[in-house]
Symmetry: C2
Subunit: 429 residues, 2 copies
């Protein structure tokens, strides 16, 4: 583990998982237990009392439809995250009442006192997921259980309330069904879903907030590659970090994003599309912009290795990252061979340094480099600027290598329903 | 430099200061130039054009008084940050119009669309400063120029708009004068001022926001030590970090605070008041909770050394930290001897490890440890939990050591006007 050099042993020995699990279970209500959302009877660890505060309850969902529905703009005019649908989901929480009745209401401003903690201390976390419409009009989500699980882990990390993941997903599905006509019909388009959870205590102490607000907004989005693949260039950033061991890089918190804007501007000024985030004096590769990172290498025996940094508290557990790993492993084992991927393939979650990437690129042993994320799915890399030099990465004539293209096809097929998969979750038939 | 072990040389070689300075000057308007707020003619570095967007302009300040003034609650009922005064200052900014007219209006909720970037990406920063009322009724601020300067540096670090520091301070003074009757008359009480700047772009891309909102709210607060000094115990945290080199710990950003809440809860569960934040495998001491840290040591030659970690991107440049350093140096040089401080004193901004603190404590060479911040001013430490053991720190019978007490008296004297000083800035006579 490369983190060992940076960290004390106690940090490595202990992970947040046990605490997260316990906190998550604390907030499971009796109603959820009855519905089968949780197996165990949940008791307060301090008093032994049954936890009695209500969890999110889809049965209490109240829908207020807009009286002024908007006309969705033409798909070709869409800019990511600028257009929002007619409705939003809002679920308030307080320390004394637990999760209150979910409400779907017309999209519109929130009224927040200037003292609310999210505005001062970054008590915010979010998720990004997409709803797709297949050729038959069926609407689906891609592995939404992964987003809900991660959202609860993020909440526990910054002392925001956790919740019944299935119950929130139920409410989100209702919202998507209501605004399903906002999903553009055009190929490659989708509805981007943004669940957000903020601390809304009206007092400027740095504490677990006594009030919170969960809201979900939806934005129709166009394809990431409207005019064919466009590989990106990366600036390997040695002046700024995205995350460090003991920090919050492994959680989808707002706090991880604001600090990346200036480094991104600086990379752009130097002619690069994104930051390649490094770690430590060894310059371990961690992430790319807001994406996970994969490097495909030629091994000495002629076989190939697909490398991504291991999950720890500097790497976000991306849903696309997990999907790529699963697909690559099923290819490697022969369970589900994928066209374009090397026949003999090792899939590795291991540390990888800039030294290794540079040396292997120079000796022609870097096959491909790509980022993975909800927006682009797979994003090929053609160039890495590192300590004043450019490292060229092969991308092929089409602007995307065979491995990236093969994996992209497998994921898009499962998202759009052309490849049957339990990763695809039906929202409406 | 201890950072050297954790970091690549380019990070050490480059500091944000030059860029920050340039960005800050870019936003200085012609109006500000005329008023003498800036010395240089400011041109856009790209086009050579004079920058024409308006900066904050106190002459445009519009005051809307509340029609329902509240009665300030009894001073003894005050809880930090729960009570706010009748008015707040609000200054919107947009990329196209620059800083708009400042407005003082009745304290009340902000209307924010759910898409605004502060709610998703932690585009927020703040300051904390106090207004004091002296025995003659004069209202003063303590070194507010330091807060304004730091606020601009924070803004530049996360691509929020910078501003004319003197102009904002002018507007804040007007707000304080309007609500001056909220400053409790009781000794040790003050009005806590919270300037905040948030990104309010109504689109969920991770970019420099095209809209922002600066607001200032005020909260009457009681004394930190209502019933005599109370030294705190620290949990030296080896599992979590507050900041790391290349990150944002040296800036007063919201993003630095949410991640500290769970570690604080865990420290409290183990019986400690605050986290002592460490860095790297060497366990360098960095900060205490939300305060800077000082350690007073006996040297082998019988003299004393007052140590605080050097300013870099993991240490917040605290106003009280700077004041303590200045006072201690003036004592050491003989310019202004302070009662209680050792006659022979070296003042050091240098790295200090837990190993050193532990060894020196065991051999009776730790004189005192204390935190410094706007809230407590000086906060004595009596105990540090470290890797399962407790290190006892002397605090004396009064719960505060002579050095901490001497420095505290000097700062409080300058805040309350009993010691004349140019650190004290008059708001109203």
């Amino acid at each position: 583990m490369y983190a060992r050099r940076l960290l004390s042993k106690p940090l490595l020995a202990r992970r947040l998982v046990p605490q997260t699990t316990r906190v998550a279970r604390l907030n499971v209500s009796r109603a959820a237990l009855v519905r089968g959302y949780a197996q165990d009877v949940v008791r307060d660890p301090m008093t032994g009392e049954l936890t009695s505060l209500p969890d999110i309850d889809p049965a209490r969902l109240h829908v207020i439809r807009t009286s002024k529905p908007k006309v969705p703009p033409p798909a070709k005019t869409l800019v990511f995250g600028h257009t929002f649908t007619d409705h939003m989901l809002v679920i308030p929480w307080s320390q004394t009442t637990g999760w209150q009745a979910p409400q779907i209401r017309p999209y519109g401003p929130l009224s927040l006192e200037p003292s609310v903690t999210v505005l001062h201390y970054a008590q915010t976390l979010f998720e990004g997921m997409k709803a797709y419409r297949d050729e038959n009009g069926k609407v689906t989500l891609f592995r939404p259980d992964m987003n809900m699980k991660r959202m609860n882990k993020s909440a526990a990390r910054i002392a925001l309330p956790t919740f019944d993941a299935d119950a929130l997903l139920d409410c989100i599905k209702t919202l998507i069904r209501l605004d399903a006509h906002w999903i553009p019909q055009e190929v490659g388009h989708s509805l981007y879903i943004r669940p957000t959870l903020i601390g809304t205590q009206r007092a400027i102490g740095v504490n677990p907030p006594n009030e919170a607000l969960l809201f979900v907004i939806c934005s129709p989005v166009g394809p990431y590659y409207p005019t064919g693949f466009k590989p990106v260039s990366l600036m390997a950033t040695t002046e700024y970090i995205r995350a460090a061991p003991g920090g919050t890089g492994g959680y989808k918190l707002g706090a991880n994003y604001a600090p990346g804007v200036v480094p991104q501007k600086e990379a752009a000024k130097l002619g690069y599309s994104q930051n390649l985030w490094l770690l430590g004096p060894e310059h371990y590769l961690t992430e790319v912009g807001t994406m996970n990172l994969f490097v495909a290498l030629k091994k000495d025996d002629g076989s190939a290795e697909l490398v991504t940094p291991p999950l720890d508290d500097v790497i976000l557990p991306g849903v696309t990252r997990d999907s790529v790993l699963a697909l690559a492993r099923d290819h490697a084992s022969g369970k589900n061979p994928i066209k374009g991927l090397p026949k003999s393939l090792t899939v590795s979650e291991r540390p990888i340094t800039m030294k290794e990437v540079k040396e292997k690129a120079q000796s022609g042993k870097v096959i491909e480099v790509f980022g993975t994320g909800t927006a682009a799915i797979i994003c090929p890399v053609e160039r890495i600027g590192y300590l004043g030099e450019d490292i060229t990465i092969p991308t092929g004539e089409a602007g995307i290598g065979d491995i990236a293209k093969g994996l992209l096809g497998e994921i898009v097929g499962r998202q759009m329903g052309t490849i049957p998969s339990d990763w695809s979750v039906v929202v409406s038939e």
